[in-house]
């Protein structure tokens, strides 16, 4: 996504925020309601995002180089694996439970990012999942769900 696209997204999001904020009670000047501050923030956001959009269009017209979110091909896979592992952890934790999810999470990341064997990654996953559950849930009292093992 180029600078123009990013600026347009920011402007649209700011407009949407302002529109939603306008729906809250504004109250009066002497007794402001819950909508006053969000409306002020929304107006500020629209103003700044508008200025950014104008600047982006002017800059691109002048053919200036702008930073982008381009990722080299090999790196893209590692980023995708990391984000997928994080999303998988969030999705699976409530029903699969911490020990199983932590094992899968650590095994996947060590196996895919480390370039070593899967057996070593799985062994490390087992160790980390067990040790971290003991540390956080048993010693520190964090109520981590047991899920499938519960």
């Amino acid at each position: 996504m180029g600078a123009r696209g990013a600026a347009l997204v920011a402007l649209a999001a700011s407009g949407a925020y302002l529109a939603l904020a306008a729906g809250f009670p504004l109250g009066t000047a002497a007794s402001p309601g819950a909508g006053l501050f969000p409306v002020a923030v929304g107006a500020y956001l629209v103003l700044v995002a508008g200025a950014l959009t104008l600047a982006a269009f002017r800059r691109e017209r002048a053919a200036a180089v702008t930073p982008g979110v381009a990722v080299p091909a090999g790196a893209r896979r590692r980023v995708a694996v990391t984000i997928a592992a994080l999303a998988g952890f969030c999705l699976a934790l409530p029903w699969a439970g911490y020990p199983v999810v932590a094992f899968a999470f650590v095994t996947l990341l060590l196996g895919r990012l480390g370039g070593g064997g899967w057996a070593g990654a799985a062994a490390a996953g087992l160790l980390v999942a067990g040790a971290s559950y003991y540390l956080f849930a048993v010693l520190l009292g964090v109520p981590l769900p047991l899920g499938l093992l519960g």
């Binding site: 500020y44 979110v69 381009a70 994080l86 999303a87 911490y98």
Partner: protein
């Protein structure tokens, strides 16, 4: 309680076994995260907030503050030995520190850096005691309009001084303020931007936002860069002692760096980073042999290393005396205070003296710990760099996930963490500094409160914000900081064209 009695009382608090242990653990973690490139003190502090729930407020803050200033010590180690700054505030140290290491003077550079940090940290404690007491007295005269104006001014200065384009920083401020409006409005109970999600009624937690933007984003960046292996220089114990000439050359830069750093810390913005550049430029300017800079001049290590520690002390002043954070790290400390039920502000010194004076005194003790940890044990910390990066990254992610979940036992915090991690990674690619977002997120609810109180006070008359002299002055400073540079540039262009 006067400053001297306060400091004596503070040492009593800080020397209690639990606080002493918290201080040691904090500076130890700070040194480790400072040594490790990528995992900074901000992410580490956010990560450890949940682990402080069982501690007293003073103990929690002593530990978290220890991470903050401890990271400045650790950051210099990798700058000097590996030419990789562990922290942004140690970038300048690579210029001469690594050149010294190449000439076999790594030990001397490390010792001078640690001593400079110790002196600046110790002088910073004196600075906090003197300025925070005075500022807190003055702040007792502040009303809601002044607090609103001060927060607005702080955000304006932060936008101007943060990395990247000013427009982008201003957008980050807006984004932070907008995130701060999510949840149940405290006065009328109206639910704002919750979209029917019950858990959003409590608002967006600061901790997963910070852990996402700094911790998770950093790990994604490291994953993208692939595996790296650090090439470590070896340091022998006998090389740790600087020569008499090196000490002589370092003394004044340390003194100047301490002052530059402390003053920079008082100003909103990335003070620790800025102060090192200012200190380096200053040392180069006052040197009779400026050509040595960049080729292993010890002044180029001593000044900036003192400055970044002085800045961490200076940054504590607005937090402890006004209850207003001007940087992400102090925003986390404020968040931690609020979580522990402590109301920061000018009355902190009176109502919770054990927190105020205990933290201030602990900074002196922490600096002593750091001096001992960082000079003879430097080899131990450097060996941490040998830990494979993918193992470290995986463990950091797991800690972030458990830390975020433990806040409310809610999957929503996990999604905020991951979402902010992806946003933070995109910010890095677009060269956007998320610091204004964090500070605005913390200050947002406070600004809303003070704005509404101002309007109540003035019976709806907005002009009260500009009718009170102090409030007007603070707002004018903010406007000037934002408007002056483009106006001056436009005038110059007009003059040149004419």
């Amino acid at each position: 309680m006067g400053p001297v009695e306060g400091l004596v009382y503070g040492f009593g608090v800080a020397l209690a076994p639990a606080n002493l242990l918290a201080c040691f653990v904090g500076v130890l973690i700070g040194t480790v995260v400072g040594v490790l490139p990528g995992i900074g003190p901000i992410g580490a502090m956010a990560l450890l907030i949940p682990s402080t729930f069982a501690l007293s407020p003073a103990t929690a803050l002593i530990m978290l503050a220890g991470i903050y200033y401890g990271a400045m010590y650790g950051g210099s180690t990798t700058s000097i030995l590996v030419n990789v700054p562990g922290e942004a505030a140690s970038v300048v140290t690579t210029l001469d520190g690594y050149q010294m290491a190449r000439r076999g003077r790594a030990g001397a550079a490390l010792t001078v850096a640690a001593m400079g940090s110790f002196v600046a940290g110790s002088l910073g404690v004196v600075g906090i005691v003197l300025s925070a007491s005075w500022l807190a007295d003055q702040a007792l005269r502040f009303g809601p309009p002044e607090y609103f104006a001060l927060s607005a001014m702080g955000l304006a200065i932060l936008s101007r001084l943060s990395g990247g384009a000013v427009r982008m920083s201003l957008l980050m401020v807006g984004l932070g303020l907008a995130l701060g409006t999510v949840g149940m409005e405290p006065i009328s109970g109206v639910r704002r931007f919750t979209f029917g999600v019950l858990q959003l009624a409590q608002g967006i937690e600061l901790v997963p936002v910070i852990m996402g933007l700094y911790g998770v984003a950093e790990v994604i960046v490291l994953a993208e860069e692939g595996l790296r292996k650090a090439d470590l220089a070896r340091v022998r114990l006998r090389e740790l002692f600087p020569t008499r000439e090196e000490w002589g050359r370092s003394a004044m830069p340390i003194a100047r760096g301490s002052v530059v750093g402390f003053v920079a810390g008082l100003v909103p913005g990335p003070a620790a980073v800025l102060s090192t550049f200012v200190s380096y430029a200053l040392e180069r300017r006052v040197s009779k042999t400026p050509e040595r800079f960049g080729h292993g001049a010890i002044e180029g290590v001593a000044g900036p290393e003192a400055a970044n520690n002085g800045a961490t002390a200076g940054a504590m002043v607005p937090l402890l005396s006004l209850g207003i954070p001007f940087a992400p790290a102090t925003a986390i400390l404020l968040g931690a205070l609020v979580i522990h039920g402590v109301q920061p502000g000018p009355l902190l010194m009176v109502q919770r003296p054990e927190v105020f004076w205990g933290v201030v005194a602990s900074m002196y003790i922490g600096n002593l710990f750091l001096l001992v940890l960082n000079v003879p044990l430097v080899g131990v910390f450097v060996s941490i760099l040998r830990l494979p990066q993918h193992v470290l990254s995986t463990l950091v992610l797991l800690l972030c996930l458990v830390g975020a979940y433990s806040l409310n036992n809610s999957p929503l915090d996990l999604w905020v963490l991951v979402g902010m991690g992806i946003v933070g990674w995109a910010f890095r690619k677009l060269a956007i500094d998320p610091a204004p977002l964090i500070v605005a997120l913390v200050l947002g609810p406070f600004m809303e409160n003070t704005l509404r109180q101002t309007l109540f006070m003035a019976h709806g008359d907005w002009r009260l914000l500009v009718l009170r002299p102090l409030s007007l002055a603070l707002l004018l400073v903010g406007v000037l900081v934002l408007a002056a540079p483009p106006v001056v540039a436009a005038l110059r262009r007009t003059r040149r064209a004419a």
